[in-house]
């Protein structure tokens, strides 16, 4: 039984004490339903996407074409009710194509700022590894600080700015792998994978009669302001000292692992904690458990660990196995 299933079983009727946790449950359930409708048979991926969204992290999809990356990204954008922008990355894409640029207006004899796609609530950077490093780095400031600086002018982005980037792992010719510094800006990397047989059947059935060939969610479930409050609420989910020590120990293990050349950065550690908080919130809890840490470990670590390992799954498994979860001694360290 996976930890997700366990959490589902355990949290299905969780009501101990805290009523504030349940205030946003309706919105979350709506988001969950909308995304599940867009991406059939991938509940666990949807949970991860929601965790990432609530943690204010950015998301990188690394998978084959046609598995629903763009569909899911668009569904997220529509569900949160914000502005959606899409950039199809190619080698000739310029940084200004993303951030925007100052254009000289002949009439007013002044420079006028034309906003790029980053000035949206959800930005889909499709096949980001096809853009040149110069263009990729244009996203650095936007992702990390939610602002862009053009010609000495700083422009704030949306508070709910959320980047979903996709990359195709098989067509490496003419691609520019994302540098580690940029990878660290993403909260997690997800692989959607092929759906199972029943899900594919359901997908085909839902496609019959649909004119545009894609099932999209056109209705906004929540507003950006509501999402922002949700994110603030997630930031207040309690993390006891023992859990933080557990996280730090895991981080140290990644740095001492013999096959990992670049371990977890402190920023990565903070991101991991925030995603685990979001995970706990999605499970209906107001505190983080080691299961939350473990559940989000693979997508969080996979995006930022680099090294000489054959399988990222195995490396993550080794890291988790090498640290004991805090159990009864936590009572003295809460």
């Amino acid at each position: 039984m996976s930890a997700t299933e366990v959490s589902d079983q355990v949290t299905s009727s969780f009501t101990p004490g805290d009523t504030s946790t349940c205030q946003h449950q309706l919105a979350i359930d709506g988001l969950r339903l909308a995304l599940n409708k867009a991406l059939i048979g991938k509940d666990d991926i949807v949970e991860m996407v929601l965790s990432c969204l609530l943690a204010r992290g950015h998301l990188l999809f690394d998978d084959l074409p046609g598995l629903g990356k763009t569909t899911l990204a668009k569904a997220v954008a529509h569900a949160v009710g914000g502005r959606f922008a899409r950039v199809q990355c190619t080698p000739d894409l310029l940084p200004t194509d993303i951030t925007g640029f100052n254009m000289f207006d002949q009439k007013t004899r002044e420079f006028e700022f034309r906003r790029g796609p980053v000035f949206s609530d959800v930005l889909l950077a499709d096949e980001i590894n096809r853009a040149t490093p110069r263009t990729q780095s244009a996203l650095f400031e936007a992702m990390a600080e939610r602002q862009v600086t053009i010609d000495a002018d700083t422009h704030r982005l949306s508070e709910s700015f959320f980047v979903i980037a996709t990359q195709n792992p098989v067509e490496s010719h003419g691609a520019y792998p994302l540098p580690e510094a940029q990878l660290d800006r993403f909260a997690m990397k997800l692989r959607i994978g092929y759906p199972d047989r029943n899900s594919e059947l359901a997908m085909l059935a839902s496609n019959v009669g649909s004119s545009d060939g894609a099932v999209a969610c056109d209705e906004a479930i929540i507003k950006p302001q509501q999402l922002r409050r949700l994110q603030e609420h997630v930031a207040n989910v309690a993390v006891c000292k023992a859990i933080q020590e557990y996280l730090v120990d895991l981080g140290r293990v990644t740095r001492e692992h013999k096959e990992i050349t670049l371990g977890l950065s402190p920023r990565g550690l903070i991101t991991w904690q925030r995603v685990a908080q979001a995970r706990a919130h999605l499970c209906g809890r107001d505190f983080v458990t080691p299961d939350d840490i473990q559940d989000v470990a693979r997508p969080v670590l996979e995006v930022r660990l680099s090294g000489d390992f054959d399988s990222a799954d195995r490396a993550v498994e080794e890291i988790l196995s090498s640290v004991s979860v805090p159990v009864l001694e936590t009572q003295n360290r809460k």
Partner: protein, 781 residues
């Protein structure tokens, strides 16, 4: 979770145990010191430095971060400083300490340093282990009761420490809790312990506890061979004089009036006291006839020989009136103190002629080689080694004998003496062989009181003689002529002897057959003396089948002589292993330990002791490792046979307990839960978690360390009854809440918690756990 070094702190209990062990050693050091002031100051400095180091490590995070580096420096200092200090002291000529104490001080400082750095993994346990050894060594080096009291306190605290370490492990890490197959720890521990006990048993059990005392467990600075001016024991302890009232190894002075009121009995006095005096010849006028001149000449010659020898041992003695009850707590005066392997036969006189009533020595037994002086490390050793080495010799035995209250100039020596040493006696003409083959201090009336004699002798191993080899056929004519007095016997006993050795091949096996028959079928009865008119005490003894030890010895000797094995009667002392004082490491030999036994000549030069009297142990042999193992095994088998019923009962009980161990261990866990888990909701949850872990361990489904309670035990939901499932879900939620949430459980949820815990107790039966939690569950998802 392996805590990072900077967070953990050195443990106080580890420091306390190290300090206790240091206290035990401090008593030994103070006791052994000539000037106590500097030693006390040194000890106080060491303890202060240790406490300072411990406090520094505890309070300074920078030191803890560099713990490994500082530890290396501290351990190097702990090992090197006492040695350097000792060398410096000796070089300056001020004073010195025995080598073993210097080594123990190093050990103590290392244990203390490790205690200060006990926050590092495994160092706390190592420190306690070293402290335990330190205290063990300290207890073997002194008889001071204070050290034993410290050892007792240490035992209690050590147990407490072990329990603490165990619970830390259980509560904190839950190490090795996966269900993978691995080396069975319990079986390994039991197996290794059994092996060690078996080895120890074969080592010590075959030789006796007293065998290892002289060499000791620690490398003494004196040892048995070399000299060290600051040694506490061994040959070389002459310079560091200590009080010699109780210790056999001390040369030091004692109060001069200690023995003023005690008499110095000779061996004959003790024989008379122990065995009774021989009857006086009847002085009444009797009728007589004159003898022919040739007959008269022969008789007078025989009397003259007897008188010339001046010694006889009568086999016909009056019965001793023994006291009805001896006070057990009254210390009888010791004749000798013996350090070394016991049982030990210390021969003083030998006899070779027996006339049916009395033993006398009639002809000289000339030893081929005169004693030689050998100077070794400045100490004089008298070498009495024979040039020819017999095949039965195996190794060398070392003894120290202190003469307390014995009036004889003969050296109470073990068989096969090779060399001896008396401090400051460096003249070989002080020693000489007696006419009956013993060693004596010639020119002296008796050995001075409190003289310590260090003795070395060949160890024997009789297995070569037992291989069907008839040693009596190997004597040369010259040896036979020399041994002829030792073969004199009466023909009437030959039939008995032949009957006793029927079907036994000639050689040592026949000797053992005679001895074993006597030990088995005859009763040792000190009061069953022969009647005064008896002219053939051996025949009388064979009829009555009981008597004192001298009759056993005489009978064995005469029966063996009738089988043409040369024998002689030996009188002396028997160092009884039952008198071995474990604390002092020595065996007292009292006046009632006078003893008579026999010896058999096996190669024309060497005499082998035989012990025909039941109740007295035969001389121990120096066995090879293989022989020891075989002997230990045989003894073990015999012991098992003797205790067959009780062993069977014990085995059944153990088998039942082992078969039902899971059940009663489960019951114990449940009882603890009931006892401690009902105080509050939190306690209820905590002890339910512990009970769950305990039951999972019993079921072989221990939680892997990377798994949480909820993720590992939630498969129980699949196999639990439907009515329990909601409560089980509730338990997992509340256990998470307890462990990882800062909020307390509100009172309105207490009933829910209680029912959830009750559901876990009901649903966590062993078989349910085994069926629901599978091995594959241990693989992280």
């Amino acid at each position: 979770m392996p805590a990072s070094p900077t967070k953990a702190l050195p443990r106080f209990d580890t420091l306390l145990l190290a300090m206790l062990a240091a206290g035990g050693l401090a008593v030994v050091r103070i006791e052994a010191a000539w000037h106590r002031g500097p030693v006390v100051a040194q000890i106080l400095c060491e303890l202060s430095a240790e406490i300072g180091l411990w406090a520094l490590v505890r309070n300074c995070e920078a030191v803890r971060e560099q713990g490994s580096r500082y530890l290396t420096i501290c351990v190097a200092l702990a090992v090197g400083f006492p040695i350097a200090w000792e060398l410096g002291q000796r070089w300056s000529g001020q004073s010195g300490t025995a080598n073993e104490i210097t080594m123990l001080v190093s050990l103590q400082l290392v244990a203390m340093a490790l205690a200060a750095f006990s926050f590092l993994p495994r160092l706390g346990g190592t420190s306690v282990l070293l402290s335990s050894f330190l205290l063990l060594f300290s207890t073997t080096m002194t008889t001071n009761r204070f050290v034993f009291a410290i050892a007792g306190v240490y035992g209690v605290l050590g147990l407490w420490w072990l329990m603490g370490a165990y619970w830390d492990r259980i509560e904190g890490v839950f190490v090795a809790s996966s269900v993978e197959r691995r080396i069975p720890v319990r079986a390994s521990v039991i197996g290794v312990t059994g092996l060690v006990l078996l080895l120890f048993g074969s080592l010590v059990g075959a030789a006796g506890t007293s065998a290892v005392v002289l060499r000791g467990f620690m490398p003494t600075s004196g040892g048995n061979r070399w000299h060290d001016p600051y040694a506490r024991s061994g040959v070389g302890d002459g310079d560091a004089m200590v009080a010699a009232k109780d210790e056999a190894l001390s040369f030091g002075p004692v109060e001069s009036d200690l023995f003023l009121d005690s008499e110095m009995p000779s061996l004959y006095d003790m024989f008379d006291d122990t065995y009774g005096e021989p009857p006086r010849p009847n002085k009444r006028q009797q009728k007589a006839v004159s003898l022919a001149p040739q007959d008269r000449k022969e008789t007078e010659q025989r009397i003259a020989q007897t008188q010339r020898s001046g010694r006889e041992f009568s086999m016909v003695r009056r019965r001793v009136e023994r006291k009805r009850e001896e006070l057990s707590d009254r210390n009888a005066p010791a004749m000798l103190y013996v350090v070394g392997q016991t049982p030990l036969h210390l021969g003083l006189e030998t006899y070779n002629f027996f006339d049916g009533r009395e033993w006398t020595h009639v002809s000289g037994w000339e030893e081929v080689r005169s004693p030689k002086l050998d100077n070794r490390f400045g100490k004089p050793w008298i070498d009495v080694r024979r040039t020819v080495h017999a095949s039965m010799f195996q190794g060398e035995n070392c003894y120290a004998v202190k003469v307390i209250n014995l009036k004889t100039n003969r050296i109470p020596a073990p068989p096969h003496l090779t060399e001896l040493h008396i401090d400051l006696v460096d003249r070989v003409d002080f020693f000489d062989w007696t006419k009956d083959g013993m060693f004596q201090m010639s020119g002296r009336e008796h050995i001075p009181q409190l003289t310590v004699i260090h003795l070395h002798s060949h160890g024997i191993n009789l297995h070569p003689l037992r291989r069907g080899y008839d040693f009596s056929q190997s004597f040369t004519d010259e040896q036979l002529a020399k041994l002829s007095p030792y073969l004199q016997h009466a023909e009437q006993h030959k039939q008995t002897a032949d009957a006793w050795v029927y079907d036994v091949p000639r050689g040592w096996l026949q000797v053992e057959a005679i001895v074993n028959r006597l030990r088995r079928d005859f009763v040792h009865d000190p009061d069953a003396t022969a009647p005064s008119h008896c002219d053939d005490v051996v025949s009388h003894f064979l009829e009555t089948r009981g008597g004192p030890d001298y009759l056993f010895a005489a009978t064995a000797a005469m029966l063996l002589r009738s089988l043409k094995y040369p024998t002689r009667l030996v009188t002396g002392f028997y160092a009884d292993p039952q008198r071995f004082d474990h604390r002092a490491g020595q065996t007292a030999v009292l006046s009632e330990d006078v003893h008579v036994w026999a010896e058999v000549c096996v190669d024309g030069r060497n005499w082998v002791t035989i012990e025909p009297t039941p109740g007295y142990q035969p001389p121990s042999e120096n066995l090879t490792w293989k022989q020891r193992a075989m002997l230990a095994f045989a003894q073990w088998i015999d012991w098992c046979k003797q205790h067959l019923v009780s062993l069977s009962a014990l085995a059944m009980v153990v088998a039942v307990l082992a078969a039902s161990r899971l059940t009663w261990l489960d019951v114990i866990g449940l009882c603890v839960f009931r006892l401690l888990g009902l105080r509050s909701s939190e306690a209820n949850l905590v002890w339910t978690i512990r009970l769950l872990e305990w039951r999972a361990w019993l079921a072989g489904r221990s939680r892997p360390r990377q798994k949480t309670i909820a993720s590992w035990y939630s498969p129980m939901l699949d196999s639990a009854r439907d009515e329990l499932k909601p409560a089980l879900r509730s338990f997992f939620r509340w256990s998470d809440h307890l462990l990882y949430s800062a909020r307390v459980i509100e009172s309105n949820h207490h009933d829910e918690v209680r029912s959830a815990c009750a559901a876990v107790v009901a649903a966590s039966r062993r078989k349910l756990l085994q069926s629901s939690i599978t091995v594959s569950s241990s693989i992280p998802s």
